[in-house]
């Protein structure tokens, strides 16, 4: 874990209100363990917004890392105003990783909204390991998508309003693919209702699933005890000081679907 001032290489809107930022962070890059890890990002020097913002790493290529973020408040607006050559302060890499499929598993990657970021990172790992996989990406409307619907390449898009790809949520193609593929293994990140639906489905179908969850986070290092999620596993973790909850920053953000509950 390092604190590093990273030089911004690009920062651009890739879909409606959704931005991708690439930056050079050689120290943090050296410590990376795999897809699922996140950075805690400081967007400004001022203490007007004292806390960092946790964001999953969307890609890593040598010293260059990227994040994908949606503008919905003051801090993300400030982030979007950063230019090439500016610096942002990162704390990372933080959190755990998706654990890898075993031989014979068919990974089905599911991303919703900006929850897409760690899923894209995992997709790159699948590609470099030459693992056959499918990916499902959900959004409200076509203008929030920046990847093309391409069933031939096993890339399935969904939109709530049917403006691109399949109409409806990611659950449509997910339910279908789980039936079609031998030994499916689900990896998902997205808004809580989506994760909850994926969790319930995976448990009902007895399909293994790993979920990267989002949580309101203070520090990212276990000090503040703010980012808890109710756990459904009796294994006692010291991090949250009690078995009822798990600290997303240290124990997560990736969990086996069966180990967590949603409030």
């Amino acid at each position: 874990m390092q604190i590093e001032k990273a030089k911004i290489l690009t920062n651009a809107e890739v879909a409606h209100n959704i931005w991708e930022m690439k930056f050079e962070a050689p120290l943090i890059a050296k410590g990376l363990k795999g897809a699922g890890e996140f950075l805690n990002i400081l967007s400004m020097e001022s203490w007007q917004n004292p806390l960092r913002r946790p964001m999953s790493i969307a890609s890593s290529n040598g010293d260059v890392l990227s994040i994908i973020y949606k503008i919905f408040g003051e801090v993300t607006t400030i982030l979007s105003n950063k230019r090439t050559g500016d610096y942002i302060e990162l704390l990372g890499p933080l959190g755990n990783t998706f654990t890898h499929w075993q031989n014979g598993h068919h990974p089905i990657l599911v991303g919703g909204g900006v929850g897409l970021a760690p899923i894209l990172n995992l997709q790159s790992e699948c590609k470099s390991a030459k693992i056959e996989h499918s990916i499902i990406i959900g959004a409200r409307s076509s203008n929030e998508h920046f990847i093309d619907h391409n069933p031939d390449q096993q890339i399935y898009l969904t939109t709530d309003d049917g403006t691109t790809g399949e109409s409806g949520t990611v659950m449509g193609p997910l339910e279908r693919l789980v039936k079609e593929k031998a030994n499916p293994y689900i990896y998902a990140c997205g808004p809580e209702p989506m994760l909850e639906a994926v969790r319930d489905f995976s448990l009902a179908q007895n399909v293994p699933a790993q979920l990267s969850v989002e949580s309101y986070m203070g520090c990212g290092v276990g000090f503040c005890q703010g980012c808890v999620i109710p756990r459904d596993s009796s294994q006692i973790q010291d991090h949250s000081y009690h078995h009822k909850y798990s600290l997303v920053c240290l124990d997560g953000p990736v969990y086996e679907a069966k180990d967590i509950q949603f409030a």
């Binding site: 390092q2 806390l51 520090c219 000090f223 503040c224 000081y241």
Partner: protein, 313 residues
């Protein structure tokens, strides 16, 4: 040119029977038990670590959402999630043997008996802890310390009970959520406390207009961060004017100048809290920068500045 060590201002201080290398500590609940700090932090540079509140039994804490950022601050309602005193004794006390920084154990309870039991359990084993900070002011537990923190008689009784059971440093941590913080501080002093620390968090609430939702599970939580610095400075200054025991200043410290301001108001030492969440190494950085800051002032030692603010009256 290299700075000569002898030119560095003297930051050492004595409080109760403890000598601290410097007056910049980390606040309870913002640094775990001192054993979890990431590698990038050298905890031995800290003047002291005040550890997360310990209760008699482990506590799971409150359901999420437990924290929310607010303007220049944050609200938390963790609910004293902690490992309980038995595990603290078993797991944490041995680790402290290898640390050179001072450890101050923060204790919380729901009645006087609970505080006594915890203290007696820790006193009954050999350990290197420097002393205790007594949390009589946590706003986030229903039956919690607030009942003590708002009542002079209860504060006095609790302080006396603990004083008679230890020679170690006792610091009573005061709440700003009272009508007269000085009277609670005075009750602590008269009952034998070595020092008081002020302030704990300020009761606050956060609402999102768009959704109509309150942002903390328990509705109200404790506001901390730069937003409360003026509240902390005033409390420290008022206490300094009426008490003769030392005051440990807490509330919104994020820089070496904030440290100096608290000292000028009357704090002999300070604790850094919320800032640790932004940067786990910030307290260490502030200690280095405070050294440089002091070297440029007229003060020969940190102790000389204490309470020396120039007021208009």
């Amino acid at each position: 040119m290299k700075r000569r060590i002898s030119n560095l201002p003297n930051l050492k201080l004595t409080m109760g029977n403890v000598e601290f290398d410097n007056p910049i500590w980390v606040a309870s609940g913002t640094f775990g038990y001192g054993t979890e700090a990431p590698e990038l932090v050298d905890v031995n540079k800290l003047g002291a670590i005040v550890t997360k509140s310990i209760t008699r039994k482990p506590r799971e804490g409150n359901p999420p959402p437990r924290i929310v950022e607010t303007s220049s601050g944050m609200i938390n309602s963790i609910g004293l999630a902690n490992i309980g005193v038995e595990k603290y004794i078993q797991k944490m006390l041995p680790v402290y043997e290898s640390l050179s920084t001072k450890i101050i154990m923060n204790i919380a309870g729901t009645d006087i008996q609970e505080y006594i039991e915890i203290l007696e359990m820790v006193e009954s084993v050999s350990s290197v802890i420097a002393g205790y900070e007594i949390n009589i002011s946590c706003p986030n537990v229903k039956k919690g310390g607030m009942e003590f923190g708002v009542d002079c008689d209860m504060t006095a009784k609790l302080t006396e009970a603990l004083r008679s059971r230890t020679d170690r440093l006792i610091i009573m941590k005061l709440s700003p959520n009272v009508s007269d913080i000085v009277s609670i501080g005075k009750a602590s002093e008269d009952a034998g406390a070595d020092a008081v620390s002020a302030i704990n968090t300020v009761v606050g609430m956060s609402i999102t207009a768009k959704t109509g939702m309150s942002n903390i599970y328990t509705t109200y939580g404790g506001l901390s961060g730069p937003a409360i610095k003026p509240v902390g400075l005033a409390a420290v200054h008022k206490l300094y004017n009426k008490l003769s025991i030392p005051i440990v200043g807490i509330g919104g410290i994020v820089s070496e100048e904030d440290v100096a301001e608290y000292m000028l108001a009357g704090a002999k030492a300070v604790q850094i809290g919320t800032a640790n969440f932004r940067n786990p190494g910030i307290s260490e950085d502030i200690i280095s920068r405070f050294n440089l800051f002091m070297a440029k002032t007229k003060w020969g030692s940190a102790d000389e500045m204490v309470g020396q603010v120039n007021t208009h009256s």
